[in-house]
């Protein structure tokens, strides 16, 4: 059994009179330790998949199994626990709490975890050991995203979900962040799923899910993923 499995997942949104099927019978599976990329254009339903995977939304049909548990059956409360203990989330706009220092932002996550990693270790891991007492506004975008990744990692989650982690970053920084994510995956055996519209990234993934109009257009198992340095966009 794969670590993450989606079976015929359907999600519809009611927009007034119109019903939009955002995700239509999506199916894929990701193994533990995989570096997966969900790629597609705007409106392809990738964010919906992310929401469903992240326990932020409930599906209408089908099932999602993470680490052998069918989270699609979870109640709202159980989903909160799922997010709390099993998921690490990296946002496009970092979503750091402006009023907390880098370290405190990480602490915010560790406060609620069961067996968190040491805050300073994680910050050192993302290369911010010297800036951990700075406020987000004092950090560059890449640094902020590192803090965000550190915050996600510090929770010691089963699954790291990243929503356009490089979307707000310049090329170099984006690459650095991707490297950090890949390294984390490879070195720590962390299962990482990245949602992006940037198809260039797919080269470095183990599993590539291409989405189009709410459906999985293509599911590619990349036997030879490239290192970050090998990709360009």
């Amino acid at each position: 059994m794969a670590f993450v499995e989606l079976h015929k997942v359907v999600k519809r949104y009611q927009m007034g009179e119109v019903t939009i099927t955002a995700v239509d019978e999506v199916e894929f599976a990701i193994e533990k330790g995989d570096f997966a990329v969900v790629v597609g254009a705007s409106g392809a339903g990738k964010t919906t998949v992310l929401n469903l995977l992240g326990g932020m939304d409930k599906l209408d049909e089908g099932s999602i199994i993470v680490d052998g548990r069918e989270i699609s059956q979870y109640s709202k409360k159980m989903l909160t626990e799922y997010r709390r203990y099993d998921i690490g989330f990296v946002f496009q706009f970092y979503n750091l709490i402006q009023n907390l220092t880098a370290k405190e932002n990480v602490e915010l996550a560790t406060q609620i975890s069961q067996n968190p990693l040491a805050v300073e270790t994680v910050l050192a891991l993302v290369g911010l050991q010297d800036r951990m007492n700075n406020f987000p506004s004092q950090l560059s975008g890449g640094e902020q995203q590192r803090v965000a990744i550190a915050r996600a990692l510090a929770k010691n989650p089963k699954l790291l979900l990243c929503d356009e982690p490089t979307g707000a970053l310049d090329y170099q920084t984006g690459k650095a962040i991707l490297k950090l994510l890949q390294d984390t995956c490879r070195q720590r055996g962390m299962t990482v799923i990245i949602i992006t519209h940037n198809s260039a990234i797919q080269g470095m993934a183990d599993k590539i899910i291409k989405m189009q109009s709410g459906k999985v257009a293509e599911f590619i198992v990349n036997e030879h993923p490239l290192p970050v340095e090998g990709i360009e966009w």
């Binding site: 626990e81 709490i97 405190e104 406020f135 506004s137 929770k155």
Partner: protein
């Protein structure tokens, strides 16, 4: 551009529609603020307007004049001719007791109603008919409705007039029976109070009108005046008061003259009466003296008589005693004579006995002799008898012999047996037989019938038998005769012997008889002598007895005459005593009459003295409740001055925040529009129009509803106390404009300022997401001892609080405002309530006060009035006077009660004088006076300053303030007796008794009042309990107003908190979504937000309490009327309530927001920063 503008306006409309929640929330806050501000502010003028309309409609008199003596015609004419006086309406009024059919007796002020006064809406104090009709004929009565009217007095019920004085009701009225025909309200009586009187318990229970012709008073005693042009001025206004002042002065002057004139006549009459009285008094005194003299004479006579009687008694007693001695001597001599007589008698008796013995012996002897003689004679007779017997026997024997012969012959003659005997022969035989033995003859005749054949034999046998028997008899007789002859011979011999013996005894008896006769003579002589002696004794004895009887009679006579004398004396004494008693009674009566007459004259003098030196001239303030209504309106007005304004400002503040937030939210759109080339003005005009529309609609709705709602509610509340039939709530342009201006300007200016500030930036900047406000360290982090104690979440919270400083201040201010409003509301209630509590429980410890009017010894009078009352616990006497106080050079003066206790050490039992803040007691010293706080405040004086007061006799004194005492009602000046004497150089004349009562459940204040009023000296009574109740009732309505304030403040608190929390959440939507994604549970999310809210609420509440105290102080100072000091402090419970209510609203808002937080979509976190 036109098109663009069109789409711009479209956008505006849509934007309003899309954010309708915000639009309506701004509108609602403005509505709340404006309606409250405008409504409360309109209440005072509306109250005054309603009253004013009523007063004008009913032509409420401007001046009411009462003359106890009645008005002379010339006075009425003079009044009418006074300049500035428009109308004079005259009438009668009299305070009487009215008793209903059910037996309720009340003090009623009966006034006259003259229909002709009220034609075509003319007249003064026109009654406002509530039910029934106006009286048309005598005996019909109108009642002024009010709480004092007994419930059984319905239309058509009857009442009877009773009068307390000796004159019946018909002294004052033409009828004593009235029928209720209608009930009215009168502008003269706007409250339940009906004024004071001098009968019953001192207060009028209800008022009534009867036709003028039902009155029998000598002259009109009331006059109602309308002053010119007062119908053009509003009641309670200064302009009105200015109009009234000159005619009032003129009327008062007129009154003084009139009273002087009227009392002059009275005075003369009184003087005359006095002269008469003095003459009569002298006469009576002379009469009394004469009576006394007579009585004295009678007494002397009585004493003389008594002495005489005594003398006589002594003399006669002596005489009787002498006679008694004499009598005793006589009695003794008599006793001796008697003894002698008895000796003689004894001797005589002895002799006599001897004689009797002798005589008896003689008699015995004689009897023996006689006996013997009788026996002798009897013997002789016996002998003789025996001889004759013997002779008889001889003859018998002879006879027998003869018979025998015959019989033998017969027998012999009888034929033989067979011969027949003839009848003749038989007859012959019988006859022959009959000659010798008739018996035999009869026997034969009967036994043998002639025809018997055996006759001859039978005859023969019978004859033979008879012959045999006779022969036997003869022989026996022969023998017996012989024996008798022998016995006779012996007896003759014995008799001869005895005869001889008798003769001898007779011879011996004869000398004894002679001797006895001689002694008898002797004894008879002695007897005669004794008899004479006895007679002598008897004569003497009789004489003595007679003497004794005479003596006794004399003694009895003496006793009788003495008793009579004493009796007569006693009678005389009783008569004297009765005479004395009669005299004493008569004297007493006479003295009483004199005293009564004297008292009457004194009373008349007093009455004359008491007669006011002028008419009682009352302005409208003299009408019960008139001034109170004005004060109440002013109080509401005072509350309106600041309280709603503050309320309004808080509302405006919240709108400002909301508008600012809106502009910030639309930053991107502003940038886009600006980039599109829209002008600053046009862009900002959207927000201005938005703000303007919201506040305009809110304001218009606000004052439209506020002008109706609040004045009506508050007037309805006051309506429970005031009888004012109108409830006017007109539109007040001024308040409408003011509130509109404030509301629109705050929101529009806020919108303008925020949009202009935003528009300063370039479009590019604007279209960039606004850089999140950078986080930074806060100063608290530099306080390790504090910072390190906080856990991570707490640190986050603290830092967040300080991060959004603007929100911090807005929230804190908003909450503070609400708390302050709540606290002020409760505080007003406290300040008002504290008056009754503190004043009557802590400062005025006494239960009542009587004012007495006596010339002389007040102490004794009070002992008589209060000392005898069972209900009274303790009392003390004091001087109590109403004085006018001012500063040394001051223009303002105030009326105060001057109080000089007889014993200042006992004052603490009745008044607790202390400083308010330090609670230090203020004893009365000789150094200065203690004045009450409000007075000191009004006159702006402190301890050590000098005040001037003027007493009722217009004497002016200077006093130094030694202490300022806590006090809430009226003004008081307390001085020790010593200080008073120092200041005034005279002794206080005590005229009041202050007392405390025993705590009793069944205490009946009505009865107690009446029992006190029964005493003529009592001219006034104040009972703390009644005062307290009345005062509390007056302020109860204000309590409701406060309740409205509290409710409004509560509503505001809720709206403000809701709005601020809403903004808070909206601003932090992304942050909240992020932590939700991070896996924060719902409760953790809400506590993440609420912790800040609660802390802000805490600071807001804290600040609110401070602000509330300031606001409360300000409101109370504004609200205060001259003679009341409201409580300065707010009760701890009010703080608690204010805090709890704020917390309640805060929690309520948080509770509602909890659901909003739950609904925050985590997808928000994925969106780009706006």
């Amino acid at each position: 551009m036109v098109m663009a503008k069109q789409s711009f306006y479209k956008e505006l409309v849509r934007s309003i529609w899309q954010s309708r929640g915000r639009f309506f929330s701004v509108m609602a806050i403005i509505f709340l603020g404006v309606s409250f501000f405008a409504g409360i502010n309109a209440t005072e003028p509306d109250m005054v307007l309603s009253a004013d309309k009523y007063f004008k409609e009913q032509h409420l008199s401007d001046l009411r004049i009462f003359s106890p003596l009645g008005f002379a015609q010339q006075d009425l004419t003079a009044l009418e001719q006074l300049s500035k006086v428009a109308t004079v309406q005259k009438g009668y009024s009299k305070d009487l007791f009215f008793t209903t059919a059910a037996g309720t007796t009340s003090v009623v002020k009966l006034m006259s109603y003259e229909p002709s006064n009220f034609t075509e809406q003319n007249g003064v104090n026109i009654p406002y008919l509530v039910a029934g009709r106006f009286p048309e004929k005598s005996g019909e009565i109108l009642l002024v409705t009010g709480i004092g009217v007994p419930p059984e007095l319905e239309l058509d019920s009857t009442i009877t007039v009773t009068v307390s004085d000796e004159n019946g009701p018909l002294e004052y009225l033409t009828t004593a029976q009235f029928t209720v025909v209608g009930s009215i309200i009168s502008p003269l009586y706007v409250t339940y109070e009906r004024g004071q009187t001098n009968i019953g318990d001192g207060s009028v229970a209800y008022a009534a009108y009867a036709l003028e012709k039902d009155f029998k008073l000598a002259a009109y005693n009331e006059a109602y005046l309308l002053v010119q042009d007062t119908d053009k001025e509003q009641a309670y206004s200064t302009a009105y008061e200015h109009l009234i002042a000159p005619p009032q002065a003129a009327v008062e002057a007129l009154g003084r003259q009139a009273v002087l004139r009227d009392t002059k006549e009275l005075r003369e009459k009184l003087e005359e009466g006095k002269q008469t009285f003095l003459a009569e008094k002298q006469l009576a005194e002379e009469k009394l003296a004469a009576g006394q003299k007579k009585l004295d004479e009678a007494e002397e006579e009585l004493i003389n008589g008594e002495a005489l009687l005594k003398e006589q008694e002594e003399r006669y007693t002596k005489e009787i005693a002498a006679a008694k001695v004499e009598l005793t001597v006589g009695k003794e001599a008599l006793e001796q004579g008697k003894l002698k007589y008895f000796d003689g008698y004894t001797a005589w008796l002895e002799g006599y006995n001897q004689y009797q013995d002798g005589k008896a012996a003689l008699l015995e002897a004689k009897a023996e002799l006689d006996d013997a003689k009788v026996r002798l004679e009897a013997g002789e007779r016996e002998l003789a008898a025996a001889r004759s017997e013997l002779e008889d026997a001889r003859q018998q024997l002879v006879y027998l012999q003869d018979t025998l012969v015959v019989l033998r012959e017969i027998e012999a003659s009888l034929p033989d047996s067979d011969s027949e005997l003839t009848e003749e022969e038989y007859r012959d035989l019988i006859t022959r037989l009959e000659q010798v033995s008739p018996e035999l003859a009869r026997l034969i005749e009967s036994s043998f019938d002639y025809n018997d054949p055996n006759l001859i034999n039978s005859l023969r046998s019978a004859l033979q038998t008879a012959i045999t028997e006779l022969e036997n008899q003869y022989e026996t007789g022969q023998k017996q005769l012989l024996e008798g002859e022998q016995q006779l011979a012996a007896a003759e011999k014995t008799l001869q012997d005895n005869k001889k013996l008798y003769d001898e005894a007779w011879q011996a008896y004869q000398p004894g008889v002679r001797e006895l006769e001689a002694s008898k003579v002797e004894i008879d002589q002695a007897k005669a002598k004794l008899e004479r002696a006895r007679q002598e004794i008897e004569r003497n004895s009789a004489k003595l007895w007679q003497g004794e009887r005479e003596l006794l009679a004399a003694e009895a006579e003496l006793q009788t005459s003495l008793a009579t004398g004493i009796q007569e004396l006693e009678a005389g004494k009783i008569e004297l005593a009765a005479g004395r008693e009669t005299f004493a009674r008569e004297k007493e009566e006479a003295l009483l009459k004199i005293a009564e007459a004297e008292a009457e004259i004194k009373e008349a003098e007093r009455q004359l003295l008491e007669l006011p030196k002028e008419w009682f001239v009352y302005t409208r303030d003299g009408n019960p409740g008139y001034a109170g209504y004005g004060d109440d309106a002013a109080r509401v007005g005072a509350v309106a001055k600041i309280f709603p304004l503050f309320f309004f400002l808080v509302a405006a503040l919240v709108c400002l925040t909301t508008m600012t937030r809106m502009i910030e939210e639309e930053r991107m759109q502003i940038g886009t529009l600006k980039a599109l080339g829209y002008g600053t003005w046009l862009i900002s005009s959207k927000y201005l129009v938005y703000a303007f529309l919201a506040s305009l609609v809110g304001s218009v709705l606000g004052f439209t509803i506020g002008f109706q709602l609040f004045p009506r509610v508050i007037m309805t509340i006051y309506g429970a106390m005031y009888d004012i039939p109108y409830l006017l709530s007109p539109f007040h342009l001024n308040y409408a404009l003011i509130s509109l201006a404030i509301a629109i300007s705050t929101t529009v200016v806020a919108a303008l300022a925020a949009s202009l500030a935003t528009l300063q930036s370039t479009p590019a900047q604007l279209m960039q997401p606004k850089a999140p406000k950078p986080g930074k360290r806060i100063f608290l982090e530099r306080l390790p001892f504090f910072w390190e104690r906080l856990n991570f979440i707490q640190k986050v919270t603290v830092r967040n609080i300080f991060r959004y400083k603007k929100r911090f201040f807005m929230t804190v201010l908003g909450i503070a405002g609400c708390t302050a409003l709540l606290l002020t509301g409760y505080g007003i209630r406290d300040s008002v309530n504290v008056i009754t509590e503190k004043q009557f429980d802590q400062i005025f410890l006494y239960d009542g006060m009587v004012i007495i009017d006596v010339e002389a010894d007040a102490e004794a009078e009070l002992a008589q009035i209060l000392g005898t009352k069972r209900e009274v616990d303790t009392y003390t006497d004091a001087l109590m006077e109403v004085v006018t106080v001012s500063q040394e050079q001051g223009t303002h003066n105030y009326e105060a009660n001057l109080m000089i206790p007889a014993d200042e050490r006992r004052l603490t039992d009745y008044f607790d004088l202390h400083e308010r803040q330090t609670a230090a007691p203020l004893p009365l010293t000789k150094e200065g006076a203690v004045v009450t706080e409000k007075l000191a405040q009004l006159l702006d004086v402190a301890v050590g300053d000098v005040l001037v007061y003027q007493d009722t006799d217009n004497r002016t004194y200077q006093i130094t303030i030694a202490g300022i005492a806590e006090n809430y009602l009226a003004h008081h000046i307390f001085m020790s007796r010593e200080y008073f004497e120092t200041v005034t150089l005279r002794e206080p004349h005590y005229n009041a008794g202050i007392f405390t009562l025993h705590a009793a459940d069944n205490f009946n204040d009505q009865q107690f009042r009446e029992s006190l009023l029964n005493d003529d000296a009592v001219v006034g009574i104040t009972l703390a309990s009644i005062f307290q109740t009345n005062f509390r009732d007056t302020l109860a309505s204000l309590d409701y107003v406060v309740l409205i304030l509290i409710l409004a403040a509560g509503a505001l608190a809720f709206v403000v908190l809701y709005n601020l929390t809403n903004i808070n959440i909206t601003e932090r939507l992304r942050e909240i979504a992020t932590i939700k994604v991070l896996g924060f549970r719902d409760r953790e999310v809400s506590s993440y937000v609420y912790r800040e809210n609660m802390i802000l609420s805490f600071f807001g509440t804290l600040l609110g309490l401070v602000l509330g105290c300031i606001l409360h102080k300000f409101v109370m100072e504004t609200m205060e009327v001259d003679n009341i000091m409201f409580g300065k402090s707010i009760m701890p419970f009010s703080f608690l309530y204010a805090v709890l209510l704020t917390m309640f609203f805060s929690i309520l808002v948080n509770f509602i927001m909890y659901f909003r937080l739950k609904q925050v979509d985590m997808v928000e976190s994925l969106k780009s920063v706006e």
